[in-house]
Subunit: 304 residues, 2 copies
């Protein structure tokens, strides 16, 4: 039985960045988050792909011991996203989205997943996120990711879902849009007052800030010599963080702090290469090395 | 004798931000950097003001024990800068610059300053920075700040100065412009290969990254509830960092790391209020409190 269940997309991406381009690249929130989480804890995904989805990718999930009993294979094309990053690659420009079988995605959580203590609701329609919440037994932590599209088009519905989750992932622009608060500290605390105990504000190349009622954690991003493709960085961060929390089974402050740095470390593998190429080859030793390296960059001594 | 000497501007600023506006506000690189540095080490400034400069500001320098024997008072108007910040206040829009007596500023380092071990060359004409360098005896550390204007208009001359300094402060856009390297890690190391041992890349609300040949230090910015005016934040960071280094008299890695966090803490006081208002009232206890607070936000434990 997986201790982490991740609901989201499994996609084929066409991505162009200043570092090059890639067609039919494995992508999607369930993909990146599960590749990261299962380095720490048994992980299962709930997602859908089309009949055109390459068998090699399914085999790769299996090879990584990701439980794909919740991966439906439907007649029709797999979700495809085409996007471009320019300049500092801070933001993707979407050129095309073909939902394919994802348009009718009705996530069904397999019986063996229902008692999973750690759950990640990737960025999908808030109704579907709510539907998954209703299927779950009594998870210890439900984390949710969303995007501007849902914030703009159905803020009320989204807020109903957010009320029910424990951890909310969003980027700085989304936090501002959702709360109307420009100041991120205030925005995070306004969100905390309305549901989630933990708010993670992703800041791209600047890392992420984790807010709780009592604590703020600043997880820096690893300065990288090579930066090829930011696609999936946020989902990788989320998967790494949740996987680490699941491995420790606690949300205690010190664990939460380390989990945020783990998320940052995992994201560093993703952005170094296209698709999951960097993440897929990262070992626990690699994680340990980068974690120690990053930890040292912020190892401030007492003021004297 | 001051152990820190700061050469730069003392200005009167007209500043408008989303939080309000202020006219005739005390500003300038020598002002902000000295207000920060002298909380840690005896500090002197080399600058010029006009005959219109309010006596209360001169008195305030004295009250803070900032050595102003290098502050020339010339006939004519004080340097005035008028600027506006919008939105996230990441960048100022300059509406007007009146150089006044600053136009003919020829920094003369007083005899009692010549042996100062720590020197900050604020953002002024590279020729003047070079001229000050020639006046100094044998400082332990010379730090330099610059801006896009000099990078664009006299890159060759600027590079000659940079070759001679130990520590270079610049923001991310300036690092990219000066090196042609988009990747900041590579840009910093290219700069290190050409002179300074230490490169500090300021990243505004995201903090600063400090690079040496062997180390990277990530100094996060303090998440603030109140953010009124970023004017002087970079100079405050520099002053705090150099003041702390001067107090310890070493550039050893652990000291450098703490110094970077001190810079970040000092900048947090500046941006909370207009002009030097926040910085001026910060005590050593306040610094200690914020340092501990910020340090805890990045106090990651070993991975287990």
């Amino acid at each position: 039985m997986p201790s982490v269940v991740l609901i989201g997309s499994v996609a084929l991406d066409n991505v162009t960045t200043p570092a090059g381009e890639r067609e039919n690249a494995l992508g999607g929130s369930a993909t990146f988050s599960s590749y990261a989480a299962n380095l720490f804890a048994p992980t299962g995904i709930v997602a859908v792909v089309g009949s055109d989805f390459p068998a090699e990718h399914i085999e790769a999930f299996r090879q990584r011991d990701i439980d794909i009993s919740g991966l439906a294979i439907e007649d029709g094309p797999t979700f495809r996203w085409t996007g471009v990053y320019d300049g500092d690659m801070a933001q993707a420009k979407t050129l095309d989205t073909q939902l394919g079988v994802f348009a009718d995605f009705k996530p069904v959580v397999p019986a063996s997943f229902l008692d999973a203590p750690f759950v990640f609701l990737g960025n999908i329609h808030p109704d579907l996120q709510m539907d998954v919440l209703d299927q779950l037994a009594n998870p210890k932590l439900v984390a949710l990711d969303t995007m501007n599209y849902w914030i703009d088009s159905m803020p009320a519905r989204l807020k109903q879902v957010i009320e029910r989750v424990d951890l909310l992932f969003l980027n700085d622009a989304e936090a501002r849009a959702l709360t109307g608060q420009h100041n991120l500290f205030r925005a995070a605390h306004e969100l905390i007052a309305n549901g989630p105990e933990i708010v993670v504000i992703k800041r791209g190349e600047h890392g992420a800030s984790v807010y709780t009622q009592r604590e703020t954690i600043l997880a820096p991003a690893l300065p990288l010599k090579r930066f090829k493709d930011p696609t999936g960085a946020g989902d990788t961060f989320a998967g790494g963080m949740i996987g680490y929390l699941a491995a420790h089974g606690t949300l205690e402050a010190d664990t939460l702090r380390n989990a945020a740095l783990v998320g940052s470390v995992m994201a560093s593998f993703t952005v170094e290469e296209f698709s999951v190429d960097g993440l897929a080859r990262a070992t626990r030793d690699d994680v340990q090395r980068r974690y120690d390296y990053l930890r040292k960059m912020v190892a401030f001594g007492p003021l004297c």
